[in-house]
Subunit: 197 residues, 2 copies
DNA sequence: GTCTATATACGGATAGAC
DNA sequence: GTCTATCCGTATATAGAC
């Protein structure tokens, strides 16, 4: 069965906001691609921004099933899971010729003064991502220095992904993304070596 | 003498694009704040995008005099210069209550499929920034492992800044920026320790 | 180079029948 | 819940006098 109209609208909006940005996606674009009419959309969502909130909520709920589970298929080592997650973003860049990166990061910088509910959902998406990485680091705590701040380190992994994706899109090249992940990998190696002693 | 109209338009556009974004800044906003009329702007710039190109070019030319020189006042140590540069972005966040970060990064993610000249000027801005950091690292080469890729490391510094700024703006808090810079500092410490042995 | 007035398109959102 | 038709503001850009 084809998804109900509301879900279809959210799905199309998710796709188009990621592809073209929030401001550059018109309500008419969404209606056209979803095969719906203005009246339907405004029946479910009072404003375009409410549709954005639904999109951000779907991203947040999808962190586990849509992002982590596929990325971690067949990867059990917690530190390798961190880098498998980064590899997934790399694959998105490859598939899109370096035009598609992290939709949350793009929206976070596109919307300069977002209304509080929007900003909070963006932050909640980052928090969920960082928390998942932090659980990996906790699982690997025996291989890291005891005094390392694992929350800071998890934030730093997200920083590396977002900063690397931004530069890759701008240069239309994977080089800067790979350089960033290489340096993060080197940092992890040195942390693990410090533990060995 | 008050700046010539053209320069004033570029200056106002630079400010408003950084504050509100490119798409959310109307030509009328710029004209109003610059005290100019439509005819003047379109006399100098055929389209709004040409004005953006002038803004990006001014950023690029300003990397030395407007960014590096102020950040490096009284700082001679090349590695401290890297962190002084990051501290300058932190200060921008403080001054703006975490709303103003890096205008180049914001534009890079706001414009999803920029016309080639725009994308190239964004990339040139990143290149100039990275090259400056790389020169610092070259100046400190004796304190870093001989086999470290200093270009990758310079890219990683920009990655840290951009990723940290993005999260700080989203959380309206310096914590994630500070966490990222702390981890980068720890990485540098470990690189220098590796050299000592 | 600068001014005013305006063309023209498209945006989000609404009205009201079905 | 869905449809068509449309309101109305604002956007970029232009025309042509001065």
């Amino acid at each position: 069965m084809t998804p109900a109209t509301r879900d279809r609208l959210v799905g199309v909006a998710m796709r188009l906001f990621a592809l073209k940005g929030y401001g550059s996606t018109s309500v008419a674009d969404i209606l056209h691609e979803a095969g719906a009419n203005s009246g339907s959309l405004y029946h479910f969502f009072p404003t375009k921004q409410d549709l954005l909130l639904a999109v951000l909520d779907r991203y947040r709920q999808g962190i586990g099933p849509m992002l982590l589970e596929p990325a971690w298929q067949g990867v059990d080592d917690p530190i390798e899971r961190v880098f498998a997650l980064l590899a997934r973003y790399r694959q998105h860049l490859v598939n899109s010729e370096c035009t598609y990166g992290c939709p949350i990061g793009s929206l976070a910088l596109e919307l300069h003064e977002p209304d509080p509910p929007v900003r909070e959902l963006l932050a909640a998406n980052f928090d969920g991502w960082v928390a998942a990485v932090e659980r990996c680091l906790d699982d690997a705590r025996d291989r890291l220095p005891a005094d390392i701040d694992r929350h800071e380190l998890a934030v730093f992994v997200l920083t590396t992904m977002e900063g690397g994706v931004m530069q890759a899109r701008t240069h239309r090249s994977l080089d800067t993304f790979d350089a960033s992940v290489n340096r993060l990998r080197d940092y992890f190696r040195r942390l693990q070596q410090a533990k060995d002693r």
